[in-house]
């Protein structure tokens, strides 16, 4: 990734790894063009299918290794949804399980060398966050009608303060999908850009062992961050869902 330009000095492009390129050699990208993004999203879905469907094919009472991993994942998300959103939140468990598994697999597949992290693009995470936001808002209005707006009217505050607090609450409610999406995309993009920058330093022979050690350390951090960001996305979805199901403070 590091090249020498005509002026001397190193020029490297760590953000080139996030460019969307068509798979088959054209230069224009239509909505139907297979790109590296669609390839890695398809691999994510195949990976999830392989783990959850093919792994539990045998339905053994004493689970095999793959079945046991699938059961662990299922139990983990199920417990999280039940703890945070309550028993009536379990109706939305398939949606949250889909979100969590997609983000975990997409993040982990992005850690393979020469691969592409689909969740590092705002386009991907913004659609997921908008989906969560629209689901939660529409659910709140369908379940509670106009009294869903009581979410913004803090009755525990003194009366003159309530309109200002309501304004602040409404603004922070609309900022939720923004922070929800940027958190995941920013974490993924930042992690991979840092790895690429350290990798560019490995071209300088004197510090290349240090650079490779740094890449290993950052890679370990990225494995942890990939899982934690998927967990945080899912658990924040559960928290917003709980707000929609039970809007009284």
């Amino acid at each position: 990734m590091a090249t020498e330009s005509e002026e001397g000095g190193l020029v490297f492009h760590p953000m080139d790894q996030f460019i969307v390129t068509p798979l088959f050699g054209d230069d224009t990208i239509h909505w139907y063009t297979p790109t590296n993004v669609t390839l890695w999203m398809a691999l994510t879905v195949l990976g999830i299918f392989a783990l959850l469907v093919l792994g539990t094919r045998g339905r053994a009472i004493v689970p095999t290794r793959v079945q046991s991993i699938a059961e662990l994942a299922y139990g983990f998300v199920h417990k999280m949804v039940e703890d945070v959103a309550g028993k009536d939140g379990l109706k939305y468990f398939p949606y949250i399980m889909t979100l969590f598994m997609f983000i975990v697999f997409a993040n982990f597949l992005g850690l393979l060398p020469m691969s592409f992290t689909t969740t590092s693009h705002i386009a991907v995470t913004a659609v997921m966050a908008m989906g969560v936001f629209l689901t939660v808002t529409i659910l709140g209005f369908v379940l509670h009608g106009a009294s869903f707006l009581k979410l913004f009217w803090i009755s525990a505050a003194p009366l003159p303060l309530r309109p200002i607090l309501a304004l602040i609450e409404i603004i922070s409610y609309f900022v939720r999908p923004v922070s929800h999406s940027i958190r995941l995309a920013g974490n993924m993009m930042a992690g991979h850009a840092v790895i690429k920058v350290f990798a560019a330093f490995a071209a300088i022979a004197v510090i290349s062992p240090l650079s490779i050690l740094a890449i290993t350390a950052i890679y370990a951090l990225e494995v942890l961050v990939s899982f934690i960001q998927a967990y945080v996305f899912a658990i924040l979805t559960c928290v917003y869902l709980k707000d929609a199901l039970h809007p009284h403070h």
């Binding site: 922070s179 920013g186 930042a190 934690i228």
Partner: protein, 78 residues
Amino acid sequence: MEGDIVQMGAYIGAGLACTGMGGAAVGVGHVVGNFLSGALRNPSAAGGQTATMFIGIAFAEALGIFSFLVALLLMFAV
């Protein structure tokens, strides 16, 4: 030249944007430190609150990531 000054401004801005990550580091350390001090006083109640700790860490770290994103955008996308 016009392009050079814009480029210099972008690089200086990228360096300044990195100071935001110091606040994020203090915030995350604050959350985890408070969790640890509470957990060492009441270990049996600590397990149930690790989820809350992770949510707190995510919120505090997100703002540091926002500032790093601004720095990256200024460096490579301006």
